[in-house]
Subunit: 282 residues, 6 copies
């Protein structure tokens, strides 16, 4: 017989690196999670469970079989060393970008987005950032730490500057964060209202999309470290992705799935479907 080693990729992401336009990879890091850790398990579980999915999307009327996507597996991190982890993500994402491909990262906690955003920004200095989240993530520091999941958008602003960041679905944060946002970002509370306008404003400029899955209502997405009731529905998320279809997307990530808090598997099914739609939308 001729047999080869067991390969495990996300459903339908079964192309070789060279032939792919989109490169998916996992960053299983949850080292600065303050409440309940576990997002490190997300990418692995998503791969395993994605076979419950279909490749065809009735939302976008597209099929994964018509897209070339490569799944490179997960990065392997040292434990307890935040800075080294961020450097590894940055370097890996830079490699993808330099090869002219679009990185789509699976977190991990939200802090992993920072080095990926930075890497894509290196190439696209006029880049916009669309941020879906329950939390502002605008703290200057969190318990004294500058590098924290609660600061990831603030740290992105450090190099992107005013007016480049759109935030949607936000419903949790400190009073000061909401006030800071008024001057520096375009923050929409509770919903995705205004996304269509943002898309128009951005036009054909490059854009990075970061989806903290806790933007979703925990009724449909309980599998996350800090569930925040009052979120958007799955249908609203689908609608948002559809709205962004025409954009010039140069990078994306989905973060903060912590699968072990939802033993029904629903949160994982939600994350898989959003990843499928996101990739189909690019």
């Amino acid at each position: 017989m001729k047999l080869s080693k067991n390969i495990s990729t996300f459903l339908g992401f079964d192309n070789e690196y060279e032939e792919s336009k989109i490169v998916v990879f996992g960053s299983p890091f949850d080292g600065t999670t303050s409440f309940r850790p576990g997002t490190r398990f997300a990418s692995n579980v998503m791969r395993s469970e994605s076979y419950g999915l279909e490749t065809y999307s009735p939302y976008l009327d597209k099929d994964l079989e018509d897209v070339n996507v490569f799944d490179g597996g997960d990065l392997e991190f040292p434990f307890g060393n935040t800075e080294k982890v961020l450097a590894m993500i940055n370097e890996f994402t830079l490699g993808i970008v330099k090869d002219g491909k679009i990185p789509v990262m699976i977190g991990g906690e939200h802090l992993v987005s920072l080095p990926a955003i930075k890497a894509v920004y290196e190439k696209h200095k006029d880049m916009y950032l669309i941020h879906f989240d329950a939390h502002t993530d605008l703290r200057d520091d969190y318990m004294g730490e500058k590098l924290s999941h609660a600061s990831v958008i603030r740290r992105s602003w450090d190099f992107m500057g005013d007016g480049k960041i759109y935030q949607f679905g936000i419903r949790s944060g400190e009073k000061q964060e909401f006030e800071w946002a008024k001057e520096h970002t375009n923050l929409t509370k509770f919903s995705c209202d205004g996304l269509a306008e943002a898309v128009k404003e951005i036009g054909d400029k490059p854009v990075y999309i970061t989806i903290d899955l806790d933007i979703l209502d925990p009724s449909i997405f309980p599998g996350t470290g800090t569930p925040e009731p009052g979120g958007i529905t799955f249908k609203e998320m689908m609608e948002a992705i559809k709205t962004m279809q025409g954009l010039n997307i140069v990078g994306a990530d989905i973060v903060e799935l912590a699968p072990q808090y939802d033993i029904s598997g629903v949160s994982n099914a939600v994350a898989c479907k959003i990843l499928r739609e996101l990739v189909l939308a690019i």
Copy 2:
């Protein structure tokens, strides 16, 4: 003392067979389930937990105490022999139908509907089928098998033919299934829109209702093998049942509850309430 053996029926379904118009029974089979098995436990758990329910429905303003329903327990199946199981269900349902009663079956996976639908169809050749589901269930075969939960509506079409089948809530399937449906069934994507029209078209013709509970959004019904976000709400389901109240219902089933994936018990409570409303609507 005089004591008799412990009897366990679904709440309020406590009439004798002879005096009942409706006959409830369970078909605890999940042999072709491709993703996560466990629907075999549904009928037993529903019976045990139904005492948390009330007999009165504020939705329909009716009470189970005013209806005669018999609960015959579960069929006992051999394991691993799909064809024998289907034959047993068919025969049992035929017995009920011949006695002039209305069968209401609790699944089990969706494939158990096939022999029940066939049995009722034997008596009512002009019968319509209303199908609530997240999935098309229209595959001609699944991994080479003609008898599969993913083919149950296609197999029903084999003998019912074009124009007799209405499908609602569908949001998952292969591209070909959606295309096939355009010519052979009345398929409504995502919602129950158009149900009122369907009810009008069917008029007083006999109709069989098959409810795959995964039509519901997994936020309210996580306890199923293949949860599909983007489903209908419980209130929409209640509305749908109300809409069908006037129909000449000659058979029905609810399938695909897998209670162990929802340790909160909510999915089971949902299934129990839908069963109560369905029986009250008949």
Copy 3:
């Protein structure tokens, strides 16, 4: 070193008794729960997990840091003696009321509201009661017992009388309860429609608010003993609290969280947020 004993209060409720206007305490009793016990664990879990919350509410644009609230911990009850438990709650609440403070109690099952309502009523005989719940709670007795979670509003009516009680979100009960309500309370089925009118009618009269958290849809609040699908959303609950902001609230409670039925922790997060908003609204 100088160290003091470990203190555990609900997030932001860290004032001393003397300086506080609002007094929070727990009544961990679930002795008459008929279906699934466990509400006894609610107050302790809410305290432990509240640190996942923020003190600022973007709904009301208020911050807990601007309010004086004392958290007195839980009452310690004898087990199996319902009457003694109720007497202890009544006495404790009376103490708070006599000190001119507003009691906010965390249940426990709904029966714990009875002695608290009674205690507040002693001082405010013209008091109104706003009742949020999935269940009528209007049974005259439950399996022969007059003191039951299923009778708590009926027992409150015993001394409050007709026209003083508003009920919202009700979707479960016996036929007779719904009929009895027509003459004695203002009952709204399924939703909070009419709350704004009720608020207008009550004006500046004193009012006690009792929130049975199972008014919420179990999709967002599965952690309760008797989940009833078809409930209100979290956003509707937030809206309701906002609507009641201007009222002269003299007492309140939130009951029926049973945290162990929701291992995702979402139900607990919901309860914590409602408690925060409720306190901010007072």
Copy 4:
């Protein structure tokens, strides 16, 4: 067709009352449980899950098919009224005893044993009590309550007196309880050592066996309200039952299974097997 209502009995306990020597019934009460309630679910779950068992015991080389046992289902209790519950158990057990049959009760918390022991004692005043447990259960009162799961053996002693009670496996209690035991009962710490001698001493006198399943090590029996590590193994329990085979057993119970704390189902399998062996040993 001819169909009869669904009957649910414990595996192999399918005889009619009149023809049976042993009568099994459930007392689903956990009203004085101080730590974690849930034993009310035990009897129902044991019935449902007993079909995973076989009727033949390789330990005793006996088969349930050779014994006549009747399963009368569960008593239905009012909630929150401890005294009424105990009276109901007492009356029901008396009925069985008067009919010359042997009661075998499934708890519920340990307090349910008290009225059953009392009922059997009415007929057999020279009765002995063999008590398997992790806890002494010898408190005179618990938080002021005389009727408590923590007092059940002390309350039995009230009418049985000194020298009639043997206790095994005890590893938890207050200092005073251990000291009190020295004068009034035969208490063996940690193990079942000395059981063979006790059996010899009792000879052919009538004996009631009460098994609090938490005598077992929680490694094999985690499904109980107050798990106490350091217990006996399942094999030691089997050995103990074998040792008692020759005794003149006039009543028995097994209590304190709380199935929801062990979602693996192992605790329930253990309880079912012990019940099978106990009945075979009688």
Copy 5:
């Protein structure tokens, strides 16, 4: 960059097929499981979680790094067609055997052992079978089905004949099965006593080892469909593997892990370690 697809093998089983002496593969089938299905998930979970393991065994003082093992992933089965599944396993195993390699299969339910045993037997007609299990698995049929997990050893006997089969740890079965075993197999109840003698008797004859993991006590292995208390300890299992080290092992399997019944992950850790030791012992 140069990147290759994500590979997922069991820890340390990372050699190519050609260079390997041992070939590991999964047979995720649980179609005849009578009680609680779920063994279909075992091989995938074992692969994912094996990275919690170390490659070095202090029991055998050997390291996986010194052995050449290939992991071919899982076979893909049609659902609901038992015979086709068994044929696929048989054919695949034959391929391995013909290539002169030793198959080590991960189940799945115990029935998957039958076609693997048969395939190895084709080459080694003088083969012995060592069977570790809680259950006899000697039924001639189960609810009318000849091919059942409860019949797998009986079906193996059909072609292996008397005196070739050793059974250890057996503690559950029908009376007739125990009696049948007396004449046809070497059955040891409850323990592995006599294994050393069996090893001596077998000498250097080829031997197939089938380990139904439910031989282990459910205290250490709750993650299985039909837990049977009274099993052997993990240390006894380690001892047994050590005892068999010198044997001429020509095939092996471990079956009946159902990981979802043990959310602690312990059962999976146990299965992984036993697989590591088994492979090191070959």
Copy 6:
């Protein structure tokens, strides 16, 4: 009324700091955990659940009421900054030691022991270390990190030197670790054999005891990140503590409880009891 803030201490540890000989505190850190995080929740859960315990130990025949113990709650750590966390623990422990009290720390992952051991070592340079664990914890680095839970004993050896460290229960590690141990520590594989001799050798020298709870068999302690079957029993642990009773214990910790992996609560009960015994033994 006069009321004071809610205090939450471990059962019976209710003395003031000044009057106490023993100081208990929690270090909820799990930042270098490589497999499954969650030990950060241990100390809080242990406090909450300790009320299920009794103050009297029948093992040691001692009562917590006769000992003065202070519970200072948990340290509050920045997330993602390992070095700062270790410095905080070191400083806090030094404070206790300087006040002439004995620190007893609740982890957290095992790395938290390092700064505590170092702090105690500052005062007692002739100190011994008794180490209970499943793992060697002797790696020089783990994925490049010197500060890791897998290196904690190696790092302690860095300043303690040869011959001062006794290790018991070890059953997992790399080959090199076991070999390194032969020259530098006294390592006992699998069991606590030789503890009595160690106690004799140590005599009245100061000794620090570090208990990684995963030394226990996961049958009784599944609630840990990396369960290793083949561990010691609870009774053996009790025996070990008894054996060490006479020692001059100057510091201790128990680490690696991850309560969320054991929803039965047994692991937590085990940890609480070991903490009680440990404190009584000091």
